[in-house]
């Protein structure tokens, strides 16, 4: 048993759990925060994406006990059904999902991705490694390619992110 304190969506949680518990299973099975999804448990799909200390991570690929004291943002911390973030609203308006299972991961990922671009991080499709990263459709697609969507809502995921990122800038 490991004792870990996780600060999730601004609230501190004491976790007493097996050291094998991933951050994903800690959220889902121990803290009752089931908004974060498990699609593969192997870092292959992005459904489990959460934001740890400002950076998006696959929560299935990291153990909960490695995050003592870390600030974690999950989909529940991004917005609620009657108080959606701009990005969440854009996903609804553009139908950026179908079954909805990959969606919390897409939204957590995109929320952090917009910040990465704003901070000037380049991507595989960026022309200039130092320049400011304009979020063209191709940039959005590339930066979101770690989040699989079998329903294949990709065109609308891009539309939703383009709109929300545009509104924020």
């Amino acid at each position: 048993m490991e004792s870990t304190e996780l600060v999730v969506n601004g609230k501190a949680h004491k976790l007493e759990a097996d050291s094998r518990v991933t951050l994903l299973d800690a959220l889902r099975n121990h803290l009752g925060l089931t908004g974060t999804k498990k699609g593969c448990d192997h870092g292959q799909c992005g459904a489990c994406t959460v934001i740890v200390e400002g950076r998006r991570v696959n929560s299935c690929l990291t153990l909960a006990c490695m995050h003592d004291g870390d600030e974690i943002t999950t989909i529940e911390g991004i917005g609620q059904p009657y108080n959606l973030s701009a990005l969440q609203s854009a996903f609804v308006a553009h139908d950026g999902f179908q079954c909805g299972y990959c969606t919390p991961g897409q939204i957590c990922s995109a929320t952090a991705m917009i910040e990465e671009a704003r901070a000037g991080w380049p991507s595989f499709v960026s022309d200039d490694l130092d320049g400011p990263a304009e979020l063209s459709d191709e940039e959005i697609s590339e930066r979101m390619s770690g989040n699989l969507c079998r329903c294949a809502a990709y065109p609308n995921i891009v539309n939703a992110i383009r709109q929300a990122a545009g509104e924020q800038s």
Partner: protein, 737 residues
């Protein structure tokens, strides 16, 4: 109160066009959207069930034989381990869609590598997983397993009612001006829905509640009852949110029965979730196919002969086979025809329905062959297809219902700028990239399925729709809400649709693209009955009733529903059954695809630059969700064309690439901004709401548009899917210099 209709006659009233609320057909947002984007929708694993423990399935590591020993005692020594279940009722294979009874049971016999043979239950998931990995299994293997569908020794059989030999195809081929005679292969596919299969079973006395991720609860409940040897009256199944299905959740799968048996045995609720690898191994695969296509035509390009003979595979004893020739039977003419299916019996994961069984791979190949014929005959591919749209059904003496194939081809060609295409392969180059354009036709049979739904108009003037129908991402919550809104004259926020609970009337389940038209018709019929009751209250004729914005009246909606209802509520169950219109008319949906690809002249990498789909699928109930379904289908087509392939090891039949790192579904950057056009159509033969299916149409030929474009770009025909780099490399112009 029941409103029943058997679809024996066309419904030409087009009533939904006359409703003044006007929500049907619009791009209304999904009512379930806010829950999904905020992580509040409850998928199978996510119910709060007190005292729940976790089970992990153990898989067979032989391909054929018997389990002789399960060393349960070793792991049961750990207090955290509750049980090792090896009950004879465990499912050996998943149920086929619509089975309505238990699939083969008993885990002592092993039919394929990866088959579930035991369940380990522990306090936590981590403990159960660890113990399951350590559980020692003894086997007795049988040496006569079959793994290769094309091996001479493999046993095959031919389903009798899927063989057609009409006229003389050999003769037609000999006498033709132009012919195509080619073999194509498509590999196996996995549905790879993002939510892994999961079930939580809990018992109260004899009553079982099973929360799971299933597409067709109306059948799944009977499959579960049969498997457990209990009455379906003692079971409640709940699947209000399903994280994708695509066929893999049509029939009951092993986790459900395992969870139920374990929960009963240990007296605690048990949750069993498949790992991603288990989803690949123990749910359904789409069969690989070997397709021999022969086409013959005269100088005018009009088909004189059509052959489509296919080899697919499945486990011994399975009745399902990939119905590859389904659309070939009615799409194009040609008097001389030979169509058939042969099934190889293999010890591989069970073959079953994966999005658009039949057409997904059958149309993909037929539309490649048509492209080859167009080239041989020197006729434009769009024109060739138009010349071969038959007036009469080529095999049966029945007419077609509404069919907008010609319009889809013309509209697509116009929007895509097809007339600007360079028909000569390998002639267009931008830097290192060879540019090509291709097109294909789309066709998918249409099905109406028996369905019931209950609609209640509450005394306060709002309404509730209830059915055990599911929404697997298809948009059921939206479209049933829209239909009820229009029929009862209510704004969207005054109708609540409740789904995925077997306590509600039995819907049609989500499968075969029939969900929307069937469950939508049931809601429509229930609402018609409620309108009749309302008209009675107003002393008028139902047909004169005007309903809008929560008000009703004759001529114009004058009085609020709450006042008319005066404290009462009205409810009705709508019940639709398929009838003569399904047998006496050939019903199908049609469309066209156009694609632009760039193939890297040095690496052989293909990128899809542009893709357009034009579809006619009867009345569109929600433009937004219908469009999304088409995106889904077309993007599956991109995957099927370029990357998706189940790799089997022919030494033991195991799936080598059983996860999402190795089985390559399209990712965001693989997909351009796809354009979807939905044609206006009403099919009065299809359903009382004139709607047909659209969930699968988007894939039925889509891959062919991509590979035809690759041919146009490079001059290389890939007839062995997927068109990966290695298959293009040798033929690329730069390599040949």
């Amino acid at each position: 109160m029941n409103a029943h209709r058997k679809m024996d006659k066309p419904d030409t009233r087009n009533r939904l066009d006359d409703m003044s609320q006007g929500l049907v057909g619009t791009a209304m947002d999904r009512p379930d959207g806010p829950l999904k984007v905020s992580g509040q929708a409850t998928y199978a694993h996510e119910w709060e069930v007190p005292d729940m423990v976790h089970g992990v399935l153990v898989r067979a590591t032989i391909s054929k034989g018997r389990v002789t020993d399960v060393a349960s005692d070793e792991i049961l020594a750990d207090d955290a381990i509750h049980a090792v279940i090896t009950d004879d009722r465990l499912l050996r294979r998943p149920a086929q869609g619509g089975a309505n009874e238990a699939p083969p049971q008993g885990s002592k016999q092993v039919d394929y590598f990866g088959q579930p043979i035991a369940l380990v239950v522990a306090d936590t998931f981590e403990q159960a997983r660890h113990a399951a990995n350590n559980l020692k299994i003894g086997y007795e293997t049988e040496g006569n397993a079959a793994f290769d569908p094309e091996a001479a020794a493999t046993e095959t059989d031919k389903p009798e009612d899927d063989q057609l030999d009409q006229g003389d195809l050999d003769q037609a081929m000999r006498n033709a001006a132009f012919t195509v005679d080619q073999v194509y292969r498509t590999p196996g596919h996995n549905s790879a829905a993002m939510e892994p299969h999961c079930a939580i079973a809990s018992w109260e006395g004899d009553k079982l509640t099973l929360r799971g991720s299933y597409q067709m609860l109306n059948f799944n409940i009977n499959e579960l009852a049969d498997a457990l040897h209990i009455s379906a009256d003692n079971i409640r199944m709940l699947s209000p949110f399903v994280g994708g299905g695509f066929g893999s959740k049509l029939g009951l799968s092993p986790e459900a029965v395992a969870a139920a048996i374990a929960a009963k045995e240990i007296g605690l609720p048990v949750c069993v979730t498949l790992s991603r690898q288990q989803v690949f191994e123990t749910t359904m695969r789409r069969s690989e196919t070997h397709q021999h296509v022969r086409l013959s035509c005269g100088e005018d390009g009009v088909l004189t002969g059509l052959g489509h003979e296919c080899l697919v595979s499945n486990l011994p004893g399975e009745e399902f086979y990939e119905p590859v020739t389904q659309a070939t039977h009615f799409l194009y003419g040609g008097k001389n025809r030979k169509l058939g299916i042969e099934v190889a019996r293999l010890n591989r994961t069970c073959g079953g329905s994966v999005r658009a069984p039949g057409e997904a791979v059958g149309m993909q190949v037929l539309e490649n062959a048509m492209d080859e014929l167009a080239e041989a005959a020197g006729i434009d591919p769009v024109e060739l297809r138009k010349r071969n749209i038959p007036e009469q059904h080529p095999e049966k003496d029945i007419p077609y219902s509404s069919r907008r194939f010609t319009e889809a081809l013309d509209e697509g060609a116009k929007r895509f700028g097809w007339d600007k295409r360079n028909a000569k392969p390998g002639n267009l180059r931008e830097g290192d990239w060879l540019i090509g354009h291709g097109m294909a036709g789309a066709a998918r049979i249409n099905i109406l399925s028996e369905a019931k739904a209950k609609v209640t108009l509450l005394a306060n003037g709002s309404a509730v729709v209830e059915t055990d129908m599911t929404d697997i991402g298809t948009g059921t919550y939206a479209i049933l809400t829209q239909i009820a809104c229009d029929m009862l004259g209510l704004p969207a926020d005054k109708v609540e649709t409740k789904l995925g609970d077997t306590d509600f009337p039995a819907g049609p389940g989500s499968g075969g693209s029939w969900g929307a038209s069937s469950s939508g018709s049931a809601v429509f019929l229930a609402c018609e009955e409620i309108r009749r009751k309302l008209a009675d209250k107003l002393g008028s004729d139902e047909r004169d009733l005007e309903l809008a914005d929560g008000k009703a009246g004759t001529g114009e909606p004058a009085q609020s529903l709450a006042v008319i209802l005066d404290g009462e509520e009205i409810s009705a169950i709508g019940h639709i059954e398929p009838g003569k219109t399904l047998e006496d008319w050939q019903q199908a949906t049609y469309g066209s695809y156009f694609a632009e690809v760039a193939v890297n002249a040095i690496t052989g990498e293909t990128r899809v630059k542009r893709m357009l789909g034009v579809f006619g699928a009867g009345r569109i109930l929600n433009e937004k969700t219908a469009t999304s379904q088409c995106y889904g289908g077309m993007i599956w087509g991109i995957g099927s064309a370029l990357t998706e392939e189940l790799a089997f090891d022919n030494r033991d039949g195991h799936i080598v690439n059983h996860d999402l790192a190795e089985y390559h579904i399209p990712v965001n950057l693989d997909v351009p901004q796809i354009e979807v056009v939905l044609l206006k159509e009403r099919d009065e033969f299809a359903s009382p709401i004139q709607a047909k299916g659209i969930g699968e149409l988007g894939i039925c030929g889509a891959a062919a548009a991509v590979t035809n474009a690759i041919y146009n770009a490079t001059g290389i025909r890939v007839r062995d899917y997927p068109a990966t780099l290695d298959k293009l490399l040798e033929g690329l112009p730069d390599q040949q210099q």
